[in-house]
């Protein structure tokens, strides 16, 4: 306690001013906490209302499964929101009490950005924002640091931009770097043309429990601790944050964080002498391709549409200078769907490996993409080394093993070819010979069944089965093989080779236990594609 009795008058005045200031701070803190409590009670009540209301609705329609499922889905959403609120408050408390722990782990910047894109994309799409996420000539792609906290920071800032920018507004996010010896300073910036902040609010933007607008009146949800958490996390990571804003015009947030990085090795060998065809219409992505591929003097053509791609491919085939790989981008002229393009290229040129470069969630796209012939995926925005290594990876897998051709190397694999037509058998044998697989033939389904039953376990890696055959047809043979009492009977891939493309025939083949079908007349490339899958497995 201060010794007021022995203080001079000036000292007393200074002390009184200090105490007034403390009192103001305490009052302000109290006001902020009251506002926070009021916000919290609204923010907690809103999802709680949803939970209770939906639970009541589910109870009312308890016999109607889809209504109940719908209500449960909404309860889950509200629950997740509630959890976010609680996490924010706990984070704040952890930071304030100095219990925040940071980890240092290796992560790929491309993956981090892609993850963030996937999180924010649905919200952006829902509000119809014009948005872009650009990475400018990044060299340090393999970083060391706390990726989870970085993601939390960036997502928080972008989510704010989404929240405070009206539907149809612009949000531009960019990432650049400054290399300083072993350190890389990662500069993130997010610019929106949303509601912005007043100069007065801007001074308090990092104070906890503050919000540009009250959620009760604006409908914008949040605890008001997000920016405060972000600032503390940025500082904990040794970085800096700056906010510039103008009410009614928008906000710009700049964050700079120093991180260690590792040098990524480039695998350029498989790209030597290869021709790449890239279909991309977005100017910035095209510039990135030109920069990255040009740097290593790679042979590539950049086109904007599927029509241009087909024209290039036709001409190249005509001049006997075929392309070795096609990269299908996300933005194609005339808004053509990349997977539709892949589907056509796969059918017309099955020997041409396809790569997809997209901001889509690969986990959700993978099944459809692979069915459309996509061999590899690179997330947007593209990064130099990730791109080069992905391209190399695809070409390496195509050239794989001792085979210099496009055909997969199936050395050590066994194929049972079931075909009654002599010419077809000869053609198939000739094609399969180039794969180094051990091929055995059966002339009808019964013979195939007997051969499989008599073989050692896992002797055959794939069965290629004609459908219409004398003695026993392909359907019966396939279902009989599947019914055999041995472990590999259920697992061995069986592909129908048939010109029957009635839907009911396809259904019949699947019902008989087959894995798929290859159209006839036998197309080398289509057959190779199936065999590549087997080789991959």
């Amino acid at each position: 306690m201060a010794d007021y009795d022995h203080m001079s008058k000036d000292e007393l005045v200074a002390e009184i001013e200090r105490l007034h200031a403390r009192l103001d701070e305490a009052n302000a803190a109290n006001v902020a906490k009251e506002v926070f409590l009021s916000n919290m009670s609204h923010d907690i009540r809103t999802p709680m209302n949803a939970i209770l209301g939906m639970a009541a609705l589910a109870q009312k329609h308890i016999d109607e499964k889809t209504r109940v499922a719908d209500a449960l889905g909404k309860i889950q959403t509200a629950g997740r929101h509630l959890l976010e609120l609680i996490n924010d408050v706990l984070d704040m408390s952890r930071i304030n009490s100095g219990k925040l722990r940071l980890v240092s782990e290796r992560f790929a910047l491309g993956d981090l950005i892609h993850d963030i894109s996937i999180i924010i994309k649905p919200q952006m799409t829902q509000k119809g924002h014009n948005w872009s996420f650009k990475a400018e000539n990044i060299q340090a792609e393999a970083l060391l640091g706390d990726a989870l906290r970085l993601r939390q920071i960036y997502v928080n800032i972008i989510s704010n931009a989404i929240k405070y920018t009206s539907a149809g507004g612009d949000i531009r996010i960019s990432l650049s770097e400054e290399l300083e010896g072993e350190l890389c300073r990662l500069n993130f910036s997010c610019v929106d043309n949303g509601i912005g902040m007043s100069p007065e609010f801007l001074t308090r933007v990092f104070e906890p429990f503050e919000r540009a607008q009250h959620s009760g009146t604006s409908g914008i949800e949040g605890t008001g601790v997000g920016m405060s958490i972000v600032k503390k996390l940025v500082e904990a990571l040794g970085g800096e944050i700056g906010v510039a804003s103008e009410q009614g015009k928008g906000t710009r947030v700049d964050i700079s964080i120093p991180l260690s990085y590792e040098h990524l090795e480039l695998d350029l060998a498989p790209l030597k002498g290869k021709r790449l065809l890239i279909i991309e219409n977005d100017e910035e992505t095209r510039s990135a391709y030109q920069l990255y591929l040009g740097e290593y003097d790679l042979d590539y053509s950049l086109v904007r549409s599927a029509a241009e791609a087909l024209s290039e491919l036709t001409l190249a085939e005509f001049e006997n200078k075929k392309y070795d790989l096609a990269v299908i981008g996300e933005s194609i002229q005339n808004s053509q769907n990349p997977l539709d393009i892949a589907e056509y290229l796969q059918k017309s040129r099955p020997q041409l490996p396809l790569m997809l470069v997209s901001s889509a969630d690969w986990e959700k796209t993978e099944y459809q993409a692979q069915r459309s012939g996509i061999r590899s995926f690179v997330p947007l925005p593209i990064f130099r080394k990730s791109l080069i290594n992905a391209l190399s990876g695809v070409l390496k897998s195509v050239d794989g093993g001792q085979n210099a051709s496009d055909n997969p190397d199936l050395t050590g694999k066994g194929i049972l070819l079931v075909e009654d037509n002599f010419i077809n058998r000869e053609i198939a044998m000739e094609i399969l010979a180039s794969t180094n697989a051990a091929v055995e033939c059966a002339e009808n389904g019964k013979q195939a069944l007997e051969m499989f039953a008599a073989s050692e376990p896992k002797h055959y890696d794939i069965i290629l089965m004609d459908i219409q055959m004398p003695v026993m047809d392909g359907y019966t043979a396939a279902s009989s093989i599947r019914a055999l009492d041995r472990n590999d009977a259920a697992a061995v891939p069986i592909y129908a080779m048939t010109a029957n493309t009635f839907q009911e025939d396809i259904d019949k083949a699947l019902a008989a236990g087959m894995n798929g079908h290859i159209a006839k007349p036998i197309d080398i490339n289509a057959l190779m594609q199936v065999l590549r899958r087997v080789a991959g497995a």
Binding site: D63, E64, K65, T66, R67, A69, D70, A306, A307, L310, S311, L313, T314, L315, F318, N334, Q336, N337, D340, I341, E343, Y344, S348, N421, I423, N424, I427, D466, Q468, T498, A499, N500, T501, F502, Q503, E504, D505, I506, A519, K520, P521, I522, D523, I524
Partner: protein, 607 residues
């Protein structure tokens, strides 16, 4: 042509003729009815036989295409040509399958001339198949059109090697494919660009001189016609000066060539009038009068291309102008004209001569279902749709009628158990007692009848003489979307749209559900669930045979996934089960009688 090929074609023709419910009406109901039953049986036999012919003769031939002799390939090609003759278009699906296989063969052989030819032919086959999904919303039909566009684009891409491709016929395919890209795109600017590109090539002496034997003036005429179709985009105001000039120029060229003929057809005169209207050269009033004259000058019994254009297509355009301009809705003179023109349209379609039925008519029916304007007209869209289904999708109507009766029984049981079960439907909730029951049961009946209207619009009911190919099957799955789009356009059928959209969807939203149907958001969901169940029973028994018990087991197995447990629970009522069983086994004579009477009435009105 091989024997199996001739037989297949004959069978397709016979099945098409048998499917027409409008034939032999003068013989009296009993005779007509027994002919219908015989036709139904015969169509089933033809389907089995044709499937057998394809499985045993065509597919093995495609299987072994690598070893086929040249004369066998020629025979196959001839067979394909007779299936797609640009008029009756007996079977675009098999045509496409043959050319797809031949394209694979020639790709492997590296025969570029043949690849280009097969690409063009495959593209044409796909174009005619894509007409099943024409008019559907962009996201549903775009994937099919895109693959078609790619095929023509690939053929067109050989333009870069035009000089090196020495065969003149191949050069012709390249030029035609370039023009045909416009057939596959919906965006008007891309359409103009594609037609413009084709016209530039056609007018380029370099290309012409390398293939002097090609019918360049015919190519030019066709390209101008294609370009003139873009006049509908003139009023958008987003065309560049160059684009505008090209469209106007083509409209003028088409008009000029028509004027030179002794009997200018409405089909080619209208584009010019339309262009003048869209450019503001003439007033809307003048345009409507021109339209009225073109329609009035077309004889009611003229069933050729020009006749159908005047009697059907122009009437739809007239209706569309009235629909678009609110202020015209009170114009009694115009509404009276529309009413009369719609009556004639209805009669024309209902009395179309059986021996003339072709692909053009199917296209007209789709167009009518998509664009009919019932405002202020005696013939509501509901009546029109019903009439067209009865005449051109007769068996579909009979099955729909049965679905409706079964839905009625289901709803009656459910309503008895819980009087508020259907109260999410506002007009049902507003009623009580007998009125409520009557309205609900009538609604159930009509929902059953209209649930498959999409198949009439798509013309897919026509593929009755074999199984569906994979692509056709994917298109078939879109019929609920097609149906709901059609029903939603007019007030008289709006109520049935949700049920049509949702009747093939899974209750729990799992695959294969029809995108766009949100069960929980629809106040008709309980009705849709009931119709879905009735539809499943009827289709399963008519397509796969088997007995009711087996179908019931399948329904119980899919309770809560494919079917609503609330509807399935009604099946525990023994009386309901007996009713359904009886409906399935009963004579369908009364339903046929309804169709007969309706068609007779239409015929008499037409006289």
């Amino acid at each position: 042509m091989r024997q199996y090929q001739s037989e297949y074609i004959e069978n397709v023709r016979e099945a098409a003729a048998l499917a027409d419910f409008g034939a032999e009406l003068d013989e009296g109901f009993e005779e007509w009815y027994s002919q219908r039953l015989a036709a139904l049986k015969r169509i089933g036999e033809l389907k089995r036989r044709n499937t057998q012919l394809l499985n045993e003769c065509l597919f093995p031939c495609l299987d072994a295409l690598h070893g086929a002799k040249e004369y066998e390939l020629k025979e196959l090609s001839e067979f394909a040509e007779s299936l797609l003759d640009w008029k009756t278009n007996l079977d675009p699906g098999v045509y496409t399958a043959i050319h797809d296989a031949m394209l694979s063969l020639y790709r492997v052989r590296g025969d570029r001339d043949a690849v280009v030819r097969e690409l063009y032919k495959l593209g044409m086959g796909m174009y005619y198949m894509d007409r099943y999904v024409a008019g559907l919303k962009e996201d549903k039909s775009a994937p099919f059109r895109f693959q078609n566009e790619m095929v023509f684009t690939e053929a067109a891409s050989y333009l870069r090697c035009y000089e090196e491709m020495e065969n003149e016929e191949t050069r012709g395919y390249i030029v035609r494919s370039t023009a045909n890209v416009a057939l596959c795109v919906r965006d008007h600017k891309r359409k103009i660009a594609a037609s413009s590109r084709a016209l530039k090539i056609i007018h380029d002496e370099k290309y012409v001189s390398l293939a002097p034997s090609l019918p360049w003036s015919r190519f030019e005429q066709a390209a101008h016609r294609q370009m003139s179709a873009n006049r509908i985009s003139l009023s958008r105001g987003d065309l560049s000066d160059e684009e505008l000039a090209e469209v106007l120029d083509s409209c003028h060229e088409v008009f000029k060539s028509e004027q030179a003929s002794a009997n200018p057809g409405a089909r080619w005169l209208w584009p010019y009038y339309d262009m003048e209207y869209s450019c503001g050269y003439v007033s809307r009033e003048c345009t409507l009068e021109r339209l009225e004259k073109l329609i009035s000058d077309t004889p009611a019994d003229q069933y050729d291309m020009n006749g159908m254009y005047g009697n059907v297509h122009l009437v739809l355009i007239y209706g569309e102008i009235l629909r678009r301009h609110e202020e015209l809705r009170g114009d009694l003179k115009r509404l009276r004209f529309l009413n009369a023109a719609n009556r004639r349209l209805y009669r024309t379609l209902l009395n179309y001569p059986a021996d003339r039925i072709d692909d053009g008519l199917r296209h007209d029916i789709a167009n009518v279902l998509n664009n009919y304007n019932e405002t202020g007209c005696e013939i509501s869209f509901k009546q029109l749709a019903l009439g067209l289904t009865q005449r051109y999708g007769g068996e579909l109507y009979i099955r729909g009628r049965l679905k409706g009766e079964m839905s009625k029984r289901l709803c009656e049981t459910l309503l008895k158990r819980d009087g508020t079960f259907f109260d999410d439907i506002p007009f049902i909730a507003a009623l009580t007692g007998e009125n409520k029951t009557r309205a609900l049961l009538n609604f159930a009946l009509e929902c059953g009848i209209f649930c498959d209207i999409g198949l009439v619009k798509m013309g897919m009911e026509e593929i009755r003489t074999r199984g569906l190919f994979e692509t056709e099957h994917r298109m078939y799955l879109l019929h609920p979307v097609a149906g709901s789009e059609v029903l939603r356009r007019n007030d008289s059928t709006l109520l049935y749209a949700d049920t049509a959209l949702g009747h093939e969807s899974c209750y729990d939203g799992s695959e294969p559900t029809v995108s766009g149907y949100e069960r929980n958001a629809s106040c008709y969901r309980q009705m849709t669930d009931a119709v879905a169940l009735a539809s499943f029973i009827v289709e399963r028994l008519s397509q796969c045979g088997g007995d009711f018990g087996e179908v019931l087991r399948q329904i119980y197995a899919a309770e809560g996934t494919r079917f609503s447990p609330l509807i399935v629970s009604a099946l525990s009522d023994q009386n309901l089960l007996n009713d359904l069983r009886q409906l399935l086994s009963a004579d369908r004579r009364p339903y046929y009688k309804e169709v007969y009477n309706a068609l007779r009435q239409g015929e008499e009105e037409g006289r």
